[in-house]
């Protein structure tokens, strides 16, 4: 029997990491990720987790140490947030280009200036082109489970790509929920020891890594990396199916819909806000309104086909972005429109930008979004609950 516990998102991540038995953890503290690394440190100091915990002096070194340990085949975890993610950002494409299966938790937080410690998704959007798989989770249980799934995904020799698990700052990292903690032996069966890829360094296979490649070869490496990213959809689906068999829970594909099949107005979400949207959908369905929600669990690779198949029946689609690409629009909105255009689907789309710097996205705000979608009126890019006039 597995255990149940009352855990924050941070602690759920820490339990997921502990159960995954990493060889090395290298991390630097930053709000709101701190509780995750504190919990992991306790596991190590109490002898509950046998791994090398590296107390690095910066996020840049957290990722560089992770690159070092992963390059010799050690299962490696790190965690960061916001400014820390940006500080290590030089090392992110470095790790993905070297095809290192590092798993990282990112506690989604706003970016200075102005300084703000609360949750939005500006940080992960900033590094969306870093070659990392980007997962967004909705609750603490999914956070724990996706750590285990992420190691399996990243270490798959068809993938060999690092994974960033995005957990909304405070709303998820600091909110306590009932979480099922799987048994160690069940996780060991599901996630066996890492099988080091032959391109890594070892005593038996001396090699050079993170090499340079001239203009004749560079593009080949990059296109191969790009193409391998698309294998994530099938591999993740398989991993999720296996996870269901092992633990009785799963999360479906890269795109999860709720009340979407016959919906006229759909809202596309990422992360924790999805829970609130589900509640509003239930309320509005009870009023006879045909509304629904589609959650993107992956932003890279972007599940364009899966997404369009789930939304193309709607009359209007809203995209809730907790970020702005300054001078254009929300980043998810751009991706969704591109997917619709590529698949030949023509829909009314509206971008709702909200939640920046931890601004609440209330049930009322979401109801307003659905009403806007149903009326089909207003600007293409709208700002939800800004809280001031400009």
């Amino acid at each position: 029997m597995s255990d149940f516990a009352f855990l924050s998102g941070n602690e759920a991540i820490a339990y997921g990491v502990k159960l995954s038995r990493p060889h090395v953890i290298a991390a630097y503290p930053i709000t709101p990720q701190t509780k995750a690394v504190e919990k992991l440190s306790s596991f190590v100091q109490d002898g509950e987790l046998d791994c090398k915990y590296m107390h690095v002096e910066s996020e840049h070194s957290a990722m560089a140490c992770s690159i070092g340990s992963s390059s010799v085949g050690a299962r490696t975890f790190t965690a960061t947030s916001s400014q820390g993610l940006l500080y290590m950002s030089e090392c992110l494409p470095y790790a993905s280009g070297a095809r290192l299966p590092i798993v990282m938790m990112n506690a989604n937080r706003s970016i200075a200036t102005p300084w703000n410690i609360y949750g939005d998704q500006m940080d992960s959007m900033h590094v969306i082109n870093s070659g990392w798989i980007q997962l967004y989770v909705e609750d603490a249980q999914e956070a724990l489970d996706m750590v285990i799934q992420s190691f399996k995904l990243a270490e798959n020799h068809n993938i060999l790509t690092p994974v960033m698990i995005n957990v909304d700052g405070f709303v998820l990292t600091h909110t306590y929920e009932k979480v099922e903690i799987p048994l160690q032996e069940e996780v060991d069966n599901f996630l066996p020891e890492i099988q080091a890829s032959p391109h890594l360094m070892s005593d038996d296979n001396k090699t050079s890594m993170c090499i340079s490649a001239g203009n004749q070869h560079y593009m080949g490496f990059k296109v191969k990396q790009h193409r391998d990213m698309f294998k994530v959809f099938d591999e993740l689906k398989q991993i999720d199916n296996d996870f269901h068999k092992a633990f009785g829970r799963n999360y479906g594909s890269a795109v999860e819909g709720y009340q979407f099949e016959d919906a006229e107005a759909l809202l596309i979400t990422t992360g924790s806000v999805t829970g609130t949207v589900r509640v509003v959908v239930d309320e509005m369905r009870a009023e006879g309104k045909k509304v629904g929600v589609v959650k993107l669990r992956l932003l890279r690779p972007f599940p364009a086909g899966d997404l369009v198949s789930k939304i193309s029946g709607a009359k209007a689609v809203g995209v809730l972005d907790k970020n702005i690409s300054f001078g254009y629009e929300g980043t998810v909105f751009t991706n969704v429109n591109s997917a619709l255009f590529q698949k030949g689907a023509s829909l009314k789309t509206i971008n709702f930008i909200g939640g920046l710097g931890g601004k609440d996205i209330t049930k009322g705000n979401i109801r307003q979004m659905f009403q806007t979608l149903q009326s089909g009126e207003g600007e293409t890019v709208q700002y939800s609950n800004m809280g001031c006039t400009l």
């Binding site: 090398k52 070194s61 560089a64 140490c65 070092g68 390059s71 360094m201």
Partner: protein, 300 residues
């Protein structure tokens, strides 16, 4: 010479672990690297940041190291080096040998934070700084280890300012101030001293650091045949010194009876050709003050 005479050229392994690279003729750094690997052996895992040694050794598909070797992000030599050690240890390898090689810029400027953090963690690793006193790979720009007076492409000998106006940062003592287990200075002009210091570093249980003076014919403007000679002369003029830091104590390994003339030494390098007698006097004054302190406070 002091006690560092256990290894010599005859006893060195004839195996080459670093060959086929594209370094310039007379390159001091590649000489230091090649000889260090003869002491460290091919079991050592090597980390090198973006810089000359990485640029000449990892050009796909031609790899110049027999060892496992990785190019690191520029700022991250020590972080990657210790990450490799941690990974190997966690995978069950006993006493893994993980060695970082970085130039002066990669060590004293952009890499100093990660080096400080790694030494502070106390993990076993060796860090060898091959110091050629400027950013050579990008075309001879000033670094924190460029000496006073030297012309670089960002501190040219101008009409108003003659070359670099700053003193060379003292990495050896900065590293020692961490309470590191072992640190040493060396020069490619005193190779036997250098290889014995590499052996000492290899035998350390904790972190160790060697700062090796490595002339660069391309960047300094001297003949490729006098690299080793300049590396010897810089010690004999007192502008560089062979020293160690062990068990919290500094010691000088070599004390020239009389310093060789500074001017003759500097004029063999194009980078110093512009400096005047007044500036040479300043260089000598700085040297003498440093030696007075070392002779007073360090073991000889």
């Amino acid at each position: 010479m002091s006690t560092n005479t256990k290894l010599n050229a005859r006893k060195l392994d004839s195996t080459e672990n670093f060959y086929g690279h594209k370094a310039c003729g007379g390159c001091g750094e590649s000489l230091a690297l090649r000889l260090a690997l003869k002491v460290l052996g091919d079991e050592a895992y090597l980390s090198l940041p973006a810089g000359c040694m990485a640029a000449v050794s990892f050009i796909y598909p031609n790899m110049a190291f027999k060892n496992n070797a990785i190019i690191t992000p520029f700022a991250s030599t020590a972080a990657v080096t210790t990450g490799i050690a941690a990974g190997l240890e966690a995978l069950g390898k006993k006493k893994p040998l993980s060695v970082g090689f970085a130039g002066d810029g990669g060590t004293a400027d952009i890499g100093i934070q990660s080096l400080s953090g790694a030494i502070d963690r106390g993990e076993k690793f060796i860090y060898i700084c091959t110091d050629n006193e400027a950013y050579m790979n990008t075309g001879i720009q000033k670094s924190g280890l460029t000496p006073f007076g030297a012309a670089t492409t960002t501190t040219p000998s101008g009409k108003v300012i003659h070359g670099n106006i700053n003193e060379k940062k003292n990495m050896f003592e900065i590293v020692a101030a961490h309470g590191i287990e072992y640190a040493a200075t060396a020069s490619v002009g005193y190779l036997e001293d250098f290889i014995n210091k590499v052996q000492k570093a290899k035998d350390c249980a904790g972190p160790s650091y060697i700062h090796v003076y490595s002339p660069c014919p391309t960047g300094w403007g001297h003949g490729s045949e006098i690299t080793v000679d300049l590396g010897k002369e810089v010690v004999d003029t007192g502008l560089w010194y062979l020293a160690e830091f062990e068990k919290g104590e500094f010691s000088l390994n070599l004390k020239p009876k009389d310093f060789k003339p500074v001017k003759d030494h500097l004029m063999r390098q194009n980078r110093f050709r512009h400096i005047n007698d007044e500036e040479i006097k300043m260089i000598e004054t700085t040297r003498d003050a440093k030696w007075a302190k070392m002779l007073k406070n360090w073991n000889i």
